[in-house]
Amino acid sequence: MPPRRITKVLVANRGEIAVRVIRTCREMGIATVAIYSDADRGSFHVRNADQAVHVGASPSRESYLDIGRVVDACRKTGADAVHPGYGFLSENPAFARAVEEAGVAFIGPPPESMEAMGVKTTARRNMAAAGVPTVPGSPDPIADEAEAHALALQLGFPVMIKAAAGGGGKGMKRCDGQADFSRLWQSARREASSAFGDDRLYLEKFLEQPRHVEIQVFADAHGGCIWLGERECSVQRRQQKVIEESPSCALDEPLRRAMGEVAVKAARAVAYRGAGTVEFLVDVHRRFYFLEMNTRLQVEHPVTELVTGLDLVRLQIEVAQGGQVPAQEAVVRRGHAIEARVYAEDPARGFLPSPGKITYLRVPAGPGVRDDSGVYSGWVVPQFYDPMLSKLLAWAPTRDQAIARLVRALDEYTVHGITTNLSWLVAALRHPAFRSGDYDTGFCARYQEDLVARPDPTLEEVALVAAALSAFKRDTDEAEAFAARAGQASAARSRWARLGLSRVLRGGTP
C-alpha cells in the first residue's frame, strides 16, 4: 500500500461517532464532510463538519446504508477518504470496495479481512483453524427455522441466536427454551434484515456466567500488529453493552498477555489492517473463547484511549496514510478508565426507547471526565436510529476512584424532556456486585430489581419543596404580570384575592 495523504474525510455515519471523528480530523488539519438523512438535518454532526451532503430519507436503508449515495457524496465533495464509524456500513466489504474503486481511501481494514471476520460463522471456522478456541455452535448460517430448532435442541438450551452479519446486539436473542424459539428466531431475523440488510442467522451455545472481555488490536500495512489492552464489557442489557471498563477485574497479567497474543494472532490470520477488536467470552474457570472480531472502531474505544493516552482515530488515519503502529513495548497502560452509555430509554419500562425533544442539557465536567456526545439542547432525538445520546467516561489512578468519579459526573448530567438511563447507571455503578468486580453478563438480569433506581427517601421533602416553590413562583409571576398590565394596585389585590381563594379550593386547607 503506497503512502497517501488524506486531506478531506467523509464521515459515513451520524451522531456521537461522527462528531468524535470530526474532532480528531480538525486537530489534524483535515477537512470533513458529514452526511445526513431527512431526520438528521439538525443533527449535531452536520454543523460540526466543514461540508454536509444530504443522502436520503430517514430510514437508514434509504440513507446511511445506501452505498451508491454515500460514494456519490464523496465524488460531489472531493473527499479523499471515508471514515465509516461503527454500525451502518462500517463492516460491509462491498462498501469498502466501492469506496476504493472510486479512488477514495477507506479508513479501515481491507475488504478481504472484513469478509473473513464479517460473516461470523466463517470467522469461527478461520479462528478454529488458526488454533484460537471458539464457543460451540453452528458451523454455517442456518437457512431453515426447523433445522435451527433441531440444532438448538442438540446444543442444549439456553442458546444464542445471532445475526451472521451482526454486531452491536442487533439481531441477537438469548433463547432459554424451545417454547420461545420460533418467536425469537423470527424477531432476530427481522432485526438482522433491518439493521444489516442480511437476515442470515446462526446459533451458539450460551455459556453460563460468562464475562465479555475484548482486546483492542491495531495493525499497519508494514506487518506491525499490536494489542492495546482489554475492555471488560459484561454489563449488558438487551445484549447491548452499557458500562465498559479497563482493566478487567477478571484478568491477571499472564491471562491478559495470553489473550492479547491470541488477539494479535487472530488479526494476523486475516491480514488485518487498522483498528479492530477481538471479543472473547471468559468462563468461570478463566478459560477464554473467541466470540467474534469487530473490524471497525468500537463504541467503547475511548476506554482504551484513556488508559493508553492514544487517539485511536488519529492512529486509524495515520495507518490509512501508510503510517506505522507504535511498537508493542511503547504501549503503556496506566490507571483505570470506565465508560457509561447514556441512552434515551426508560429502564423502568424494559429499557423502552424514549425518542423526543431534549428541552435542556447540561453535561458534566471536572477532573478526569470525558463526554462524547452527539446531541444538544433543543435536538429532537429521532425514532429511526440507535437511542444512545452520549458516552460518559472517567479516568482515575484506581478502579474505586474511577467509579466514584463516574458516579459524581453522572450526578451532574442533566437531560430534560426525554427519559434517560442516568439513574439506572448510577445504581449499577453503586451495586455491590459491580463494586466487587465479580460480575458477569448476567449482571443486569440478576439484579434487575436492585437497579431500578429508587430515589433517596430522605430527599423527598426537599423535592416537594422544590416543586411547590416552582409552582408558587409560576402562579405569583402570572398574578404580578396581570397586575402590571392592569396597572392598578387594587387590581393586583383583587387578583390576589381570587388566586388565594382558588388555592384554598385546590388544596382544601389554607
Binding site: 419543596v465 416543586a467 416553590l469
Partner: protein, 175 residues
C-alpha cells in the same frame, strides 16, 4: 416587602396513590416559609438557568433540577429522581375520582413510542393470556413487544403490519 400567600399545593406521588400538602408563604425576596408534614422550613431559593433551583433549606444546600411537563414535574436531586404531579383543583378532583388503576373491563393498548408495526400477533376475537405479546413495534432499530395486561379477548384491533404509528396511538383492546 410583606408576606405573600400562603398558597397550599397538593402534590401527588407514586402515580397518584399518595398525596402531600405543601404550604408556601413568601416572606421576602427569594425567602420562603414552607410547611410540610407538620414541620416548618425556612427556605432560600435562587433560580438558576433553565429548570435549576438552588435551595438552602434550614441552611443545607441542594441543587434541584425540575423537568416540567404540564402538571407533571420530575425533580432530580443528585441521582434521586422524584416524579410528582401538582394538578390544579379541577384535575385533582378528577384524579381522586378515578381511584386506583385497575385492569377490570376493557383495556386499550397504545403504542409506547412512535415507530413501525412489524408484527400483529393476534386477530380480532383471539383469546389471549396475561403477558402475551400482541403487537411488535420497531423503533430505534429495536423490536419492542406490546403485551396484554390481562387474560381476555381481543375486542378491537386498530393497526396492521407495516403501518407507522405515533406514540400513544391505539393498537388494540382486550376485554
Amino acid at each position: 416587602m410583606s408576606a405573600t400567600g400562603p398558597i397550599t399545593y397538593i402534590a401527588l406521588l407514586d402515580g397518584g396513590s399518595r398525596e402531600q400538602a405543601v404550604e408556601v408563604t413568601r416572606v421576602g425576596p427569594g425567602l420562603y416559609r414552607v410547611r410540610l408534614g407538620g414541620r416548618v422550613h425556612e427556605v432560600d431559593a435562587y433560580r438558576h438557568d433553565h429548570g435549576t433551583l438552588s435551595l438552602l433549606v434550614d441552611r443545607k444546600s441542594y441543587s434541584a433540577t425540575l423537568d416540567e411537563r404540564g402538571d407533571r414535574v420530575r425533580v432530580r436531586l443528585g441521582a434521586s429522581v422524584f416524579d410528582m404531579e401538582i394538578p390544579d383543583e379541577r384535575r385533582l378532583r378528577l384524579r381522586r375520582a378515578a381511584g386506583r388503576f385497575t385492569v377490570e373491563g376493557k383495556q386499550t393498548l397504545t403504542a409506547p413510542m412512535p415507530g413501525k408495526v412489524v408484527r400483529v400477533l393476534v386477530g380480532p376475537g383471539a383469546e389471549v393470556a396475561e403477558g402475551q405479546a400482541l403487537v411488535v413495534i420497531e423503533a430505534m432499530k429495536m423490536e419492542n413487544e406490546v403485551r396484554s395486561p390481562k387474560a381476555g379477548k381481543v375486542v378491537e384491533l386498530h393497526v396492521a403490519e407495516g403501518q407507522t404509528v405515533e406514540g400513544n396511538a391505539k393498537l388494540c383492546a382486550v376485554e
